[in-house]
Symmetry: C2
Subunit: 210 residues, 2 copies
Amino acid sequence: MEEFKGTKKKIFDTSLQLFADQGYKATTMRQIAKQVGIQQSAIYNHFKNKEAILDASINKLKQSHLINIFEDKEPQELYKKGRLLLKNISNMFKLISYDTKTDLIFRFMMQELFNNERLREFYNEEFFQNNVKKLSAIFFLMMQDEIIENNDPLLLANEFFAPLFFYQLQIVRLKADNKSTSVAATLFEKHTEFFWDRIKVTMPQQDDIF
Amino acid sequence: MEEFKGTKKKIFDTSLQLFADQGYKATTMRQIAKQVGIQQSAIYNHFKNKEAILDASINKLKQSHLINIFEDKEPQELYKKGRLLLKNISNMFKLISYDTKTDLIFRFMMQELFNNERLREFYNEEFFQNNVKKLSAIFFLMMQDEIIENNDPLLLANEFFAPLFFYQLQIVRLKADNKSTSVAATLFEKHTEFFWDRIKVTMPQQDDIF
DNA sequence: GTCTATACAGAGATAGAC
DNA sequence: GTCTATCTCTGTATAGAC
């Protein structure tokens, strides 16, 4: 929860930047120090060792919007917003892709996910067990209220999240090479429309053809 | 195109395994040698240096089914298969997640994607410019033939690929921790059904309600 | 809290005998 | 083609002066 200040903050920000660009292992203490503008040994006044900076980075991820999609809100307060809720979530995914700080955390996460079991464990529990299940619950409530058609709520949750994550990945990747992201950026909204049309209740008495 | 043999193959296979588990940078020549059962210096009889093993790994990725989804087939030969084509593609994504060798390449790719510009460039051109565009072309032909409803073909291509990639990622991740993948595995088929129902032409004269 | 100096381990790579 | 031995560089981390 603590926010770093002064030199410690500089060290942390620089480290995260380098971790995102090159990976944790490839980043050296000398590199970090040089970029901060201090001697390498001075880092140890702020962080016990290199792993402590890694831990701080993981903590940052835990607090980020990449994981905390619903903040503290419960399905019961959310589901009535219907299509608007999905639009809000979709837009949040989009904003994250363009937020410079969160973009770093995203790249850091993707690299370490496969060689850091602790991070994988955390991702599984927080992102999956938490967010996907919460979204499932929301869809379930929407079905009960006949806002959307009956279907497998867990499938809907996955089908809604998957493209958002995928488009986020593409944008972060394209941005890393300073390539245009404009096409990919439009997909967030298009996905939500496309998806909503698939799941919404279509009134039988009202004929779309005429 | 060359397939390695004997010691060279052992070195390559071991390296790819370690790259997938720990990342390229974290893997040492001594580690590779130890696991192969030779002296560290003996590696240099087979590969010029560590980077040459990395290059070979990237070449392996280029040849894999992760990238070569349509092999050499053209949209014109494929689109008529309709729903079956999508089922085949979906099934291929699923099989890759469980194929031990391709699973390694997938993990290797995900880690290096963010710190290897060359790999990113290749991924962008081959996966995106090639596969997504090819699938777009297929959907476009399906629309012309009135197999599916009119829509943005590029959107459909993305919406179809995104969950497949996402589910693949989840399975590979779960497998890394020896966790159950059975729930995730069912999503490939469910996605295809869910998606096809969304896009297929629904005959106006034929009423589904009765 | 930052510096210089240094310890020490581990990295990639080469030389030359067999 | 593999071995032993070794070089050189670079990595993390600590000690102690200011």
